[in-house]
Structure formats: structure tokens, C-alpha cells
């Protein structure tokens, strides 16, 4: 499976498809940190929320890099389950790299306030990015060509998911649990002081359940969609 993950990453990077999401990441970082320094937790909370659609898009691109027939060849080589998991792992590794850049870059140009809460804020920032990364990979998977069968349906899934995450994630939403808690995380971190542990636990549990459902759905759909 490691060989398949590495093959897909190599194909994604060599094929030049990594360029578009990379530019989007730089734009997002420019917008967030262009206005000066903020407390770590606040900045990272917004960064994770703003990166969610980019990470989902990038994950879809990673999963769509291979021609359909090559994906099926990989399936005969490592089995259906192995092929599906290797795709998600490749997407997650790239998303992790993007998150690492998004978290380290602001330190280089003074985007984060250095103070007592910088370390706690950074740890909370790692959590916030992870809580955006895994659902984004799941959304990218559900929008991938292997599941949706074509470009139009894939883009529709991606756009609708990105909009719903924001709309249903707003305060006072009628069904916030339908989407991953990306906006809720940004709100919880919107203070220099760390949020209560119970809030973090609730958000993490909520994200874990949502991801289990979305990734389970992806796995179930991929059983019959090669």
C-alpha cells in the first residue's frame, strides 16, 4: 500500500496538478495574515476554516490524478480496500503538508503574536487543522471521479459541501451536526484564552463521528464503484 501511496503522490506532483491548490493556499494565507499579527489560536482557527475547501479540492485532485483504468489496475494489484485506503492516505499526507506550511509560514513574517498563549494557541491550532483536514479528505473522496462518475457531479458535490460547511456551521444553524464542526472550531478558538476542555472534547467527538460516517460512506460506495 505504501508503494501505491508513493506512486499517487509522485503522479500528482509530477503531473503539475499540485500548482492550482498551492496558489489557493498562498492566497488564503495572504488574506488571513496580511492585516498584521493575531493571537495563535485565533489565527489558526480561521486558517483551518479557510483551508477546508482548498484541502477538499486538493484531495479530489489527488484522487482524480490517475486515469480510471490505472485505478482499476491498482485495484487488481492491491485489492479494492487497499486501493481506496491508499488514495485517502495520499490525499491526507498532502493535506498534512499544506497544513504544516499554513502553520509555519506565518511565523516567518510575523503573523502570530508571541506571548504567553502562543504555545497553547499553536497546540490548539494543530487540533483545529486536523479537525478540518480529515473531513476535507472525506469530502474530497466523496467528490472524486471514482464515486461521482464525472466532472460535473464531482464539482457539484465539492461546491455544495464547501457552502454547507459555512452555512450550516453558522451560529444558530438549524442542523449544525450535518456538517463537520469546522466553523464551530474557529468560533471556539476565537479568543486568546483557550476554550474549556469540554468544548474541545465535544467538537472532537462530533468531528470523529462525522468523519466516520463520511469515510464509511466513501468505502461503501467504492465497493461497487471501481
Amino acid at each position: 500500500m505504501t508503494a501505491l501511496v508513493s506512486m499517487r503522490l509522485a503522479a500528482f506532483v509530477r503531473g503539475g496538478r499540485a500548482l492550482a491548490p498551492l496558489i489557493a493556499v498562498l492566497v488564503v494565507l495572504g488574506v488571513i495574515y496580511g492585516g498584521g499579527a493575531s493571537p495563535a489560536s485565533v489565527a489558526y482557527g480561521y486558517s483551518a476554516a479557510a483551508l477546508f475547501p482548498v484541502l477538499a479540492w486538493q484531495s479530489k485532485l489527488v484522487l482524480d490524478t490517475e486515469p480510471d483504468t490505472q485505478r482499476r489496475l491498482a485495484r487488481t494489484a492491491v485489492g479494492g480496500r487497499g486501493e481506496a485506503i491508499a488514495g485517502l492516505l495520499a490525499a491526507a499526507l498532502l493535506a498534512l503538508a499544506v497544513c504544516a506550511v499554513a502553520m509555519l509560514a506565518p511565523w516567518l513574517f510575523g503573523g502570530i503574536e508571541t506571548g504567553d498563549n502562543a504555545l497553547t494557541g499553536s497546540v490548539l491550532g494543530v487540533l483545529a487543522h486536523l479537525l478540518a483536514l480529515v473531513p476535507a479528505v472525506a469530502v474530497g473522496g466523496l467528490a472524486s471521479r471514482a464515486v461521482t462518475g464525472g466532472v460535473r457531479n464531482g464539482v457539484a458535490v465539492l461546491v455544495v459541501a464547501a457552502i454547507l460547511v459555512v452555512v450550516l456551521g453558522l451560529q444558530g444553524s438549524i442542523a449544525p451536526w450535518l456538517v463537520p464542526p469546522v466553523m464551530a472550531t474557529a468560533r471556539a478558538l476565537n479568543d486568546a484564552d483557550p476554550p474549556p476542555a469540554a468544548t474541545l472534547l465535544l467538537i472532537t467527538g462530533w468531528a470523529a463521528l462525522w468523519c466516520a460516517a463520511a469515510l464509511g460512506g466513501y468505502g461503501w460506495l467504492r465497493r461497487s464503484r471501481a
Binding site: 509522485a10 483504468t69 482499476r72 491498482a74 487488481t76 492491491v78 471501481a226
Partner: protein
């Protein structure tokens, strides 16, 4: 390996591509899947390879290592032929040297550094054949493997098929031009109207030889047509010039005498 009441369609609203296929393939058996374009040969082969999942029924006892040669090799990938085959070898969990061995054998060595997208159709098809053989397959599924191959590589396919079956492997091969009809002991499956008709392997004792004269210009087409119908074309040769004292040419010239039959080669000939 067994097809157990397999039904397949590509979408809920689409008609069935294959209906209620029940079939068994024994170890060491070669199955030639015949049928017109769009009959469902590729679908059947992909179900056998495990690439597609039956909508109803199941394919049981599939050998663990499956080699699948798709009808069209996916050349739109940013790797050279060698990089691709080495990566596929790692994917299969075999030594990367297997890639070099198959590149030698399939006469791919000179294209090792060529990007997949720049390969000719036939060379890309050879890469497709090589990737299926990196780990010795217990089931080899070949979807029109001759498309675009040159004469030297074409003769390799029956050799490879024989090697796989000799070690107890199963080979399924689709072949709309009936190139493999000469393979001894091959069972024929005819795919028509979403179902499969099984034809027992023919033995030399079941066959007779008919000599037919066709116009020179039509010879190619006649050979293709005869092969597509499942007949073996043994030989193509010029007619002897008519002998004036034996009467007019025509029907007499094409009738076979026991003597001329004995002159025919016993193995499959070609144009």
C-alpha cells in the same frame, strides 16, 4: 473459478450488460471470449478480474494474484515505461528487477526511458502486458491483447498464455479477430445479447479441411471473417496455374484431392 449467477449493469436505469452468467473455469484452462463489439466481452473480463463487482451473484474462488491487461493501456501518466513498471512491481510486492526482465522479453528495453504518453499504441500495449505479468498471475485476463502489437510481439502472447496455464493458471482472453483460435484446448465463450454461450474445445478429430478459392483482393477480409467465426485458417497460397488438358479452371481448381490435403501444414498459418 466460478461465475455464480452473475448479473451486471453499469447503472440502475441502464439495461443489463450481462444476465445470469453461470460458468466454471478449471485451473490450467484457457478461455477465449468471442463476440462482436459492445457485446459485453470487456465487462465479462473485468468481472472475472475483480475490477467490476457483480450487481447480483458472485465470482467465487478467484486465484489470489490477478493480472489484467486492459483493452487500452492508460498512457496518460507522468512516468517513463521503466519507472512505471518498477512502481507496479513494488505495488505487486515483487522485486523491481521483474520489470527489467519483462521489458527485455517484450522487446521494450529501447523504450525504457520514454514517457508513457509518448509511446506508440502498440508499445504502450506491451507495457500493459508487462505490468500484468510482473507477479506470476494465477488468473491472467487479456482484453484484446493483440491491438497494435507488431508481428514479433504477437507470437509472444500465445507463448505467455501457455506458460501461465502450464503452471495451473487460468487465462481469459477476448479476441474479436480470433487470433488465438489455434491454441490447443482453448474453450470458447461466445458473448451475445447479454448472455454467454459455451463451446467445447475442438479437437483435430472433429475438424475437416475445406479448400476455398477467393479473389486475391478479398483474401485479407476472408481470413479475418473466417477467424472471427471461429474457424482456423491453416494456409493461404497461390492457386496452381490452370492445366489446359485438365479442362477449365474454376470449381475443379478449388476442389481438394486427398493428395493436396496431405500437403497442407497442420499448424495454424498466417497471411
Amino acid at each position: 473459478m466460478r461465475f455464480d449467477g452473475v448479473w451486471f449493469r453499469y447503472g440502475r436505469r441502464l439495461p443489463w450488460a450481462l444476465r445470469e452468467i453461470d460458468a466454471t473455469v478449471e485451473p490450467g484452462q484457457t478461455v477465449v471470449v468471442l463476440g462482436r463489439n459492445g457485446a459485453g466481452k470487456s465487462t465479462l473480463l473485468q468481472l472475472a478480474a475483480g475490477v467490476l463487482r457483480p450487481v447480483r451473484g458472485s465470482v467465487r474462488d478467484r486465484p489470489p494474484i490477478v493480472g489484467w491487461v486492459p483493452e487500452r493501456f492508460p498512457a496518460d501518466q507522468p512516468f517513463t515505461a521503466e519507472q512505471y513498471l518498477r512502481r507496479m512491481a513494488r505495488l505487486r510486492g515483487v522485486a523491481e528487477s521483474a520489470a527489467g526482465e519483462w521489458m527485455e522479453r517484450l522487446l521494450l528495453a529501447e523504450h525504457a526511458g520514454t514517457r508513457l504518453g509518448d509511446l506508440s499504441k502498440g508499445t504502450a500495449q506491451k507495457v500493459g502486458v508487462a505490468q500484468a505479468l510482473l507477479a506470476r498471475p494465477g488468473l491472467l485476463v487479456l482484453d484484446e491483447p493483440w491491438e497494435g502489437l507488431d508481428a514479433a510481439a504477437r507470437t509472444l502472447i500465445p507463448e505467455i498464455v501457455a506458460e501461465v496455464t502450464a503452471t495451473g493458471g487460468i487465462v481469459l482472453v477476448s479476441d474479436h479477430r480470433n487470433e488465438i483460435a489455434g491454441l490447443p484446448g482453448a474453450t470458447h465463450w461466445q458473448v451475445t445479447e447479454s448472455s454467454v454461450r459455451f463451446e467445447e474445445p475442438t479437437t483435430p478429430a472433429d475438424e475437416v479441411i475445406i479448400e476455398v478459392a477467393v479473389r486475391r483482393a478479398d483474401a485479407d477480409q476472408a481470413v479475418v471473417r473466417l477467424r472471427a467465426e471461429g474457424h482456423r485458417v491453416l494456409d493461404v497460397r497461390d492457386l496452381a496455374p490452370p492445366q489446359p488438358h485438365h479442362g477449365p479452371s474454376g470449381p475443379d481448381a478449388s476442389s481438394a484431392t486427398p493428395q493436396s490435403r496431405a500437403d497442407l501444414p497442420t499448424k495454424g498459418g498466417s497471411l
